[in-house]
Symmetry: C2
């Protein structure tokens, strides 16, 4: 399961995308709208900003805004940033790979093979679906 952090990030990004025309959005506005602890959300938005996904403006009239269009932000990017690996095992992770301690040869490990397929199926969706795809449909 995705952490609360990542879940909150998605909801915040949705709010920012849906209010992109109104200039910078206050943390407090997002927190209230999405029922998120304001201080927790602050840390999350800061991380998204440091990763280049969001921009911000300080002082009066300030707030957060998207640095790219929703279509350019794949869901996998957000998950990896806040949750880490998407794969089910370290030995099949593309971005957080760790060698399997137990098995002698990953190339002939059946578990490795199946979990690689799960990873591929998951990534096919999460790399191609973007913030645009999770905005309210209508």
């Amino acid at each position: 399961m995705l952490s609360k952090k990542t879940q909150y990030a998605f909801h915040a990004l949705i709010h920012l995308a849906e209010n992109a025309d109104k200039g910078p959005v206050l943390i407090s506005e997002i927190a209230q709208e999405k029922n998120i602890s304001i201080k927790f959300l602050e840390n999350i938005l800061l991380e998204l900003k440091n990763a280049g996904i969001l921009g911000s403006k300080k002082g009066k009239g300030g707030g957060y805004y998207l640095m790219r269009t929703p279509k350019e932000i794949p869901l996998a990017r957000i998950i990896r940033l806040l949750d880490g690996p998407i794969a089910l095992l370290p030995c099949v992770s593309l971005n957080y790979y760790e060698r399997c301690e137990t098995c002698k040869n990953e190339a002939v490990c059946g578990l490795n093979e199946v979990m690689s397929k799960v990873r591929d199926a998951t990534l096919k969706l999460l790399e191609n679906k973007t913030l645009k795809d999770i905005l309210t449909r209508n």
Copy 2:
């Protein structure tokens, strides 16, 4: 990522499948072979037994053994038993569903839609691939 518990369970099940002809296998043998804490493994095997996946025999000559053929044990069963939900969000989980607090209508939630697809793609593999599929290939 899958917990150590589930990872250990897979390795233990593989060992049991590959030694099914030799009668009950000792916890200590599996622990040594797969480098798992014997006491931790004991708890895991007990859980698998209570779920009907393994059988056991006490006393001299005792140990654990599979209650079904490897082909009859889907990977999803093991993961759900030891790790819980396979889905990335509570609101798209089939076995551990929880209503989404934030969104008003899950039927039109784009996040729900994408994560449902991820779940379906993952389950298609994990429900159909079994212990048999992760045994060493040769």
